[in-house]
Symmetry: C2
Subunit: 660 residues, 2 copies
């Protein structure tokens, strides 16, 4: 095995003239081309970010205490905004770009720098600004958005309560209409109604978009959102608002999470964000959406971007960790080759290749899938509600990607930390803070276990219903009425994939391990079978009596997760295939084809038990898959540096002492 | 499904008179009995610890900065020593107990409190004190041990260097004998020779046990250890010693890790720890062990306790996390039961049971296996080198358990963090600091990937050779001479297990999923087959030329890990079986039998791919195993509180705001 890393662009026999090796911080030609491919249609935006954002802008010192980290995050956010960043998602008329997909791409780039800063701006511009933008009407936009963009109006997204996190429909906060004064009264009637884990609340927020049950003339119209002042301009708490500081957390020290409680706080009627429902001049509730449930989920649906950002941000953190650990593994040696005496590079060990390369392959796969998801977000936004099925599909996809990407990111950052040994544990090397900051991505914007169940639910319903239109018992009963077999809809690159599958079907006897058509078949098979099995179980559960209903549906939970994961894997593979199709450069394409092989085989290996259990593969093939994962990891390890360059982080952002 | 937790001791129909429910902080009768069973022969020691150690002794505030955490850890260590704790491992003549197993048990208990404090004392008493105790002779014991015990002589274990962590034999530090002055000169000849990640170095240590190549009359006698003064009594660095502070880490803030470099530092000859080799009055090197390699590994072998402690300490951290998350899951509700309206406890959800109960089962399995390992440590210590095979088996077992337990601990603490949602991320709830502190357990005292390879190597050699006697190429070549099939030696409870296996073999057609004999067969089969497969590969690799040797052996790495894991799983199962045998109380026994079922089936499920691939089970059985894991998790969830009480942490040590 050779121990030199070589950039294939410089030594491909058929290739171009040898390029000089890039100087420190410079990117190799292959790395550059991979970057362009993975950035896709967001390349210009992302490259602009790489060209203009320095380490000083986005690198946080991991040793800072809570107070310093908080001050830094606020100051950096303001500074980036002043230079025109972070506001892509706002209307062009106000100085933004009005493009949702671009705002996600910006979030991904910021997350390659620092996650505290990313979440600080995510709360301010994404969640708080997004609530106003999506749930408010013209007056709200004019009144609040300019200040939200430039951070003079700092705000919180006050949804979660101590008693209810995942179950938003059960929030206890009330927003009661008072006809006498034409006001609303915002109140936290119980200790568990206190808003909790709210970013921007502990220190900086002046306003909050408060989620609560809207009560008008004694009737509960479901959860709505009102703009409530929580601090005066001098930052003292507003009257009736009790603010708590949740202090030290497992990470994200730059984000000031806190609690908010409201004691009969009165606000003018127009402060209710009333795009989907509000109280008219006659003091009567009115909404274009009759069903409370549908209204609630339509409102939540407009906030889907936050969930997409969290998945993408977590993936960025994993990309950064992979960039650090892989670069280190090409430099660090340990133990001598038996009989030879030279010390071996970490990356030349099989176990080390097995840790890093399959995860680099996943980073590419998830990157292409994020691009698809961002495109989808923009299409749905542009359609402005005219395609409800597309909206529901987007929500389901966002939940699926968020759950899968955050899980993978946490696991991968940990692998990278350990792959750097003791050095990986020293804060100055950049991995431990990344791990600590990314941790909570598994929880916020929806607990992963809950999200995967929502995905399974919408798959069972074929996106026919919004999540809220049916509880699980309703879903089970509706499933009982569903007929026959599941037809999976390809999510992208339909023609290409049809062709691949057809070609694999024509020559099943010769099906190679690296046949993309065969991969797609296996991924689809697993999804279809898991989903059909779930539907069968849910049908049975739907027949249970009310008393036994919980137990019956509860017994399907693990199957729901399995179906959601199988679905997500398939969607990601399709996105990878589509991403490769769009690449022009034949050499880069050939590298990405191998990376996609490694992704597909890694997922198949992870699901080897299922594939054998359901007789999709035999023992010989199962063993061959594992061997192929090792072989591909070894082969691609020679391209490790260009591959991590392609993940898109400027080297200086890595902020890792071991790489200096 | 019932939503009340009940202690079966109070409601077993056949059972005793109902006991009153224990008051806060009190333990239920079943919990108490499980504790006794899991503590095993260490019960008295552990119960004494629970009776005397308060939260104030061992609970650290997670918000403290580096300086405060370091000061606290030192002060608490001294305070515990003053009260007679932490010194069990030292000779009875000096005020210890002289019992190695007891010192591990003490380490496990301390780790239920705080890991910084545990590692601080682990460095001072375990590593530094252990080096003097095991590698020194009478003068060293008399001179250094009393002060080491009472912490007036604070010390470092200066083994790892920047350039060499896992590869201790390649250390660059030199200890050169100077005949003219009858001294040694300790030197760091290169930047990579700098000692790194050394606990007690950055702030508190006055002495260091320094590992370096011993050079006498121009000949390198291999790595030896010398006592070197690194700070004066006023804590200024000693002449010739450069000390660096490695500052902030991913966790363990209470431990002051630093670097040490030596510039031709001279020490009197007697400061070499010379039990296994040193320079005599004639200035000539002498050792009872002729082979340098054997000498080195004999010396390292005496330090095996540290590795055992790390595995046990990590498991304690996981026990604590499981105690927090499980207790929370019995209190916290979320979402309503469809059709009914009452909110459901987290622990009543299938997905939540699946997260916690199999890990509780593993906590018991690993606890019983730790007890066996501690017994084994004591036997080997008592044998004082008279049974070399037993020593090598102990070293292999220690490495195996360290790698498997630390991996499991990190994964499990993370599962527990996420199982508590946003609350799990708040430092005040105790989980994030636990996760951060336990992280590095995967790395220190031996990188897990390296350790598992050592385990595989000694399995291949049947404990016939010390690790150091052969490099991997030598192992491969020796394997080539090995004949025939592997006979696994049962590690404990041989008669019982023989009987179980024989009974399962007589009735294979009726083999139930919960047949312990069948479990043992499956675990043994997996180990034997994996090991034989590895031997075959290694035999082939042993025939490669010198040039191809690395590549050939490298291709066996993943198989080495698989064999080591299979072996460890089997050893753990056997220890669990032996542990249950020793329990008298029939009710507690019946609970533990179910817990052992869940452990065995969880491991079988994790290895479902392998079992199917090698036709040990068919599809029907594979599915039945998964279902049984869910069913057992649900059944045992009704005993969740007594089960976590049995894990042995005083409730007040949990230091978790969500439980108050």
């Amino acid at each position: 095995m050779t121990t030199t890393t070589h950039d294939a662009h410089t030594d491909t026999p058929a290739g171009r003239a040898p390029a000089p090796r890039p100087a420190a911080g410079r990117v190799s030609p292959t790395g550059e081309a991979l970057r362009r491919a993975l950035d896709g249609r967001y390349h210009d935006l992302k490259q602009r970010w790489r060209d203009t954002i320095s380490a000083a802008d986005v690198v946080r010192d991991p040793t800072w205490d809570l107070e310093t980290a908080r001050e830094w995050a606020l100051a950096q956010m303001v500074s980036l905004v002043e230079r025109g960043h972070l506001v892509a998602g706002f209307p062009a008329a106000l100085g933004g770009i009005g493009n949702q997909a671009d705002s996600v791409a910006q979030f991904e780039m910021l997350a390659l720098g620092d996650l505290s800063l990313t979440i600080k701006s995510g709360v301010q511009h994404g969640l708080f600004g997004g609530a106003i933008n999506n749930l408010g009407t013209q007056w709200h936009h004019e009144t609040y958005l300019p200040g939200t963009m430039d951070c003079s109006i700092t705000g919180c997204f006050a949804m979660t309560e101590l008693g209810h996190g995942s179950d938003v429909q059960s929030l206890e906060t009330t927003i009661t209409y008072l006809p006498d004064t034409d006001e609303f009264e915002v109140d936290s009637p119980t200790p568990t109604a206190r808003k909790a884990y709210i970013g921007n609340a502990a220190k900086d927020g002046k306003w909050a978009a408060v989620f609560g049950q809207l009560l008008v003339a004694g009737e509960n119209q479901g959860v709505h959102v009102a703009m409530v002042r929580i601090r005066e301009e001098d930052l003292t708490p507003a009257a009736g608002v009790t603010i708590g500081d949740q202090g030290h957390k497992g990470g994200l020290l730059g984000v000031d999470n806190g609690t908010l409680a409201f004691d009969h706080v009165r606000i003018p009627r127009r402060q209710l964000l009333n795009r989907y429902g509000g109280v008219n001049d006659e003091g009567v509730y009115e909404s274009a959406i009759a069903s409370k449930n549908a209204r609630f989920f339509t409102m939540l649906g407009t906030l889907v971007r936050g969930r997409i950002c969290v998945g993408g941000g977590a993936a960025s953190a994993a990309r950064k960790a992979l960039s650090i650990a892989t670069r280190y593994a090409t430099k660090r040696t340990q133990f001598r080759a038996p009989g030879l005496g030279e010390e071996i590079r970490l990356l030349d060990y099989q176990t080390h290749q097995r840790k890093l390369l399959p995860n680099i392959a996943k980073a590419y796969a998830y990157g292409f899938a994020m691009n698809e998801l961002m495109d989808q977000l923009q299409r749905v936004t542009d359609a402005a509600g005219s395609d409800p099925k597309a909206s529901r599909e987007l929500e389901s996809r966002a939940a699926a990607m968020k759950a899968v990407l955050t899980r993978w990111a946490n696991d991968t950052i940990q692998v990278c930390r350990e792959a750097c040994g003791g050095a990986g544990y020293m804060s100055e090397n950049g991995l431990t803070m990344l791990r600590q900051d990314a941790d909570v991505f598994a929880t916020f914007e929806g607990d992963n276990t809950v999200l995967l169940q929502l995905v399974a639910k919408s798959l069972l319903q074929g996106y026919k219903q919004t999540w809220g239109d049916m509880d699980l018992r309703g879903t089970a009963q509706a499933t009982a009425r569903m007929v026959g077999e599941t037809v999976l809809e390809r999510t992208t690159a339909r023609a290409v994939i049809d062709r691949l599958v057809a070609s694999a079907a024509r020559r099943p006897e010769s099906a190679q391990l690296t046949s993309r058509g065969w991969h797609v078949q296996m991924f689809e098979d697993r999804e279809r079978h898991t989903l059909e099995g779930l539907a069968k179980r849910m049908r049975a559960a739907g027949k249970a009596s009310t008393e036994d209903s919980f137990t019956a549906i509860n017994a399907c939970q693990e199957h729901m997760l399995a179906a959601a994961r199988a679905h997500t894997d398939r969607v990601v593979l399709e996105a990878f295939i589509a991403g490769i199709e769009a690449v022009g450069d034949p050499y880069v394409k050939s590298v990405l084809i191998q990376v996609c092989d490694l992704y597909a085989l890694t997922v198949l290996e992870e699901n080897k038990g299922w594939l054998l259990e359901h007789e999709r593969i035999d023992s010989t093939r199962a063993k061959a898959i594992s061997q192929q994962v090792l072989d591909l990891s070894a082969r691609l390890s020679h391209q490790a540096i260009p591959l991590v360059e392609g993940l898109g982080a400027n080297e200086e952002w890595l902020n890792s002492a071991i790489l200096r």
